[in-house]
């Protein structure tokens, strides 16, 4: 598997000493600018679903409480039961725990439904997420999995991918 990582200098990180989770939460909006979701995706609200990471859920919910993504109000949901992800209908699935049982199948279901599957850490790439944050000291980087990219029905702009570096 070839991994490409995108190195992002955290905006104003040094000045504001912002937490990595908060930064990751903000970057969801930045990623969304380079995404093209399938046409059958709901267009009245931007849905972010968080899998197995309540802390991250709280942070994301707080981040987008008064902010919009793609001019849509943001709805954040924490997934906890099997039945909740049988018929996914969201824009972003934030995978907060890559070691959860049957996470791979859940990821594939969401990728097939057209949601961007974003991993909380680099190990998630091994479980099949499309994009994943990678902690690298002062920098926050992210990488993508080429196979997952092909599998995922969301369309990601080359503009985003061209920043990735081969690790």
């Amino acid at each position: 598997m070839i991994f490409f990582t995108l190195i992002i200098t955290l905006i104003n990180k040094s000045q504001a000493q912002v937490d990595d989770s908060q930064l990751k939460s903000v970057l969801i909006e930045r990623f969304s600018r380079f995404m093209e979701w399938p046409e059958n995706m709901i267009d009245s609200v931007f849905v972010i679903e968080v899998l197995d990471n309540k802390e991250m859920y709280e942070i994301i919910k707080k981040t987008y409480a008064n902010r919009k993504i793609n001019n849509l109000p943001v709805q954040v949901t924490l997934l906890s039961s099997q039945k909740e992800y049988d018929h996914p209908m969201c824009h972003v699935l934030y995978v907060g725990n890559c070691y959860r049982e049957n996470s791979t199948s859940i990821i594939e279901i969401y990728q097939q439904s057209g949601a961007l599957v974003l991993g909380h850490e680099d190990r998630c790439l091994e479980n099949g997420v499309t994009l994943a944050f990678i902690s690298d000291g002062k920098k926050v980087v992210f990488g993508y999995d080429e196979l997952a990219l092909k599998r995922n029905k969301v369309s990601i702009s080359y503009k985003l991918l061209q920043l990735a570096k081969n690790q």
Partner: protein, 591 residues
């Protein structure tokens, strides 16, 4: 040195023309090509830079979104592969420099962007040394910043100069080739023309029209050669013809000159208006005793008096010519002038003859004739007296009772004397006709005829029936004495030559007058006159009839008198049938 184009040889003209056309065509085409290529290159550069700016802008979106200045620098540094881009800048949406690239060769003359100018839009600026292009970086309708490129025009200009250099070298090469080709090609046109000029010069110098130019083709020059040769042929023929004419003219002129110079009559040419003598031969000067060297000074006044000149010129003006105009020149020379006005010219060509000797002879003859007439008249007149005396004496002898033989002799003497008296009377009449002037008076033809009929001798009258028809309503004026001589002679002849075989003898007389003339016709049924005698009937002393006892002068006198009066006489006669005389005498009514 005259640099007139017309003085340049045809060879050089053709070379110059070809070169001018070539250079003009090259200049126009090369200039067009240069302008076109420079504009095309400029547009290509603009397009290329706009695309480059757009591409860089595309790639710069994500670094700008994520604030990845390193990524932006990395992207913009890739422009290093385009050396003409001296400086490149990625500006964020606050117009701050996000990433930049400056070429090593950049002079750093240009500030990349004025941050205070917040109204910067997409722009392209072309100055002397640089091309500036500024493009906004947008993605999905949002502005993320700008890309600003400073492009050096040095490579562009170097390329243009290189193009110009290549074009100039090409132009020199083409002109050189064109020069060589024009020198070679012009020969095909100039050589035939030079050949024609050379041939023409030879013909002019040698006057030989047998020379021909050799035709080599059927193009315009070939056609010109053919026409030139035809022209030479025609000139040759015309020259030969002209030589013939010249020779004939020369002969004619020589003949004329010979006639003119050796003529026994004087030949002259006079201007009508000025009367100046224009030309004359030697004989002319000789006759008039003039000096040929003073030709220009002579006018018609030198040989005609004022009166003669008026007559001479008026006759010429009226009739176009004058014949035998006789003048007496300087008292002792008689000259006859004849001349004719030349059609279309105001001059008279004429001849003069010295008629002094002829004139003298004529005057002498006239004098002798007059003396002869005088002698005949006086001789005839003087002869009649003794004849009349003899006749008187013979009459006396008849009364002395001569023997029968004596009476016969006396009668013969008397007849001879009467014939002699008739002859003398006729001679007197003839002489009188020549000597006396015409005496014009109004004539009463009835009275005249009565007198004439009474005058017919008794022995001729016999049993002849005479009828007279006179129509003289128009007054006729003429010489009564001479007309009565005509009528009397013809009337006596009509009586005298009656045929003895004829039972009824008659004479018919008809007289008719009009304004123009008088017609007198006398017809008889006498013995007539044979054709051979008719021709000589008016000759002097000619007798047509054997029975005639006349003098042979009667009809001669009649013809003479008719001529004197300006009339005409006609004769028609048949032997044994009769004779008719018709006399026409002009009416002198106006006198």
């Amino acid at each position: 040195m005259n640099l007139n184009f017309y003085n340049i040889s045809i060879r050089n003209k053709l070379i110059i023309v070809i070169q001018l056309v070539t250079i003009t065509a090259l200049l126009v085409s090369f200039l067009s090509y240069f302008i076109f290529t420079s504009e095309r290159d400029k547009q290509n550069l603009i397009n290329r830079m706009e695309i480059t700016a757009k591409l860089v802008g595309e790639y710069a979106v994500s670094p700008l979104v994520f604030g990845d200045a390193e990524g932006g620098t990395e992207i913009i540094t890739r422009l290093k592969s385009m050396p003409e881009i001296e400086e490149a800048y990625i500006l964020d949406d606050d117009k701050d420099i996000f990433a930049s690239y400056v070429n090593d060769s950049s002079s750093h003359e240009y500030h990349p962007f004025n941050p205070n100018n917040s109204r910067v839009e997409d722009l392209s600026i072309w100055d002397d040394a640089y091309f500036h292009i500024l493009q906004k970086i947008t993605y999905k309708g949002d502005d993320y910043g700008s890309i600003y490129l400073v492009v050096s025009l040095r490579p562009f200009k170097e390329r243009l100069i290189n193009d110009l250099r290549v074009l100039f070298i090409n132009m020199l090469l083409i002109i050189g080739i064109s020069w060589v080709l024009s020198v070679i090609i012009q020969q095909y046109i100039s050589k035939p023309i030079k050949k024609l000029v050379k041939t023409t010069n030879e013909i002019v110098q040698e006057g030989n029209y047998d020379i021909r130019v050799k035709n080599q083709g059927t193009d315009e020059i070939g056609q010109l050669y053919a026409s030139y040769n035809k022209m030479l042929e025609r000139i040759k023929l015309e020259k030969e013809q002209q030589q013939k004419y010249s020779k004939a003219l020369e002969v004619s002129e020589r003949n004329y000159r010979t006639i003119f110079e050796n003529s026994i009559v004087g030949i002259f040419n006079i201007d009508i208006k000025s009367g100046k003598l224009l030309q004359a031969n030697e004989r002319f000067y000789e006759i008039l005793k003039l000096d040929p060297s003073r030709l220009e000074q002579y006018t018609i006044d030198q040989f005609l008096s004022k009166k003669e000149r008026v007559i001479f010129l008026k006759t010429i003006e009226r009739e176009g010519q004058i014949e035998n105009f006789e003048i007496n020149h300087k008292g002792d020379i008689w000259i006859s002038f004849s001349g004719k006005r030349i059609k279309g010219q105001n001059s008279i060509d004429g001849v003069i003859q010295d008629i002094t000797d002829r004139k003298k002879n004529y005057l002498e003859l006239k004098k002798v004739n007059f003396e002869l007439d005088n002698f005949v008249y006086h001789a005839s007149h003087d002869l009649r007296s003794p004849l009349r005396s003899i006749l008187g004496l013979t009459n006396l002898l008849k009364h002395d009772k001569p023997s029968e033989n004596g009476i016969e002799l006396i009668q013969r003497i008397e007849n001879s004397i009467l014939r002699l008296d008739n002859l003398v009377t006729d001679l007197l009449t003839f002489s009188k006709n020549s000597r006396t002037k015409r005496d014009i008076e109004e004539i009463d033809f009835k009275a005249l005829m009565e007198e004439s009929l009474e005058g017919v001798p008794y022995e001729y009258k016999g049993d002849i029936e005479v009828s007279v028809e006179i129509n003289d309503k128009n007054i006729f004026k003429g010489d009564k004495t001479r007309i009565s001589v005509i009528i009397n002679n013809l009337l006596v002849n009509a009586h005298k030559y009656q045929s003895s075989k004829r039972d009824k003898k008659h004479i018919h007389i008809k007289i008719k007058t009009n304004k123009k003339d008088m017609q007198f016709i006398i017809s008889d049924n006498g013995e007539g006159i044979s054709e051979e005698n008719q021709e000589r009937i008016f000759d002097m002393f000619y007798r047509a009839s054997e029975s005639s006892d006349g003098s042979g002068l009667g009809l001669y006198i009649v013809k003479n008198v008719v001529d004197t009066l300006g009339g005409r006489i006609y004769l028609t006669s048949t032997v044994d049938k009769g004779t008719t005389f018709e006399v026409i005498i002009p009416n002198n009514q106006s006198i």
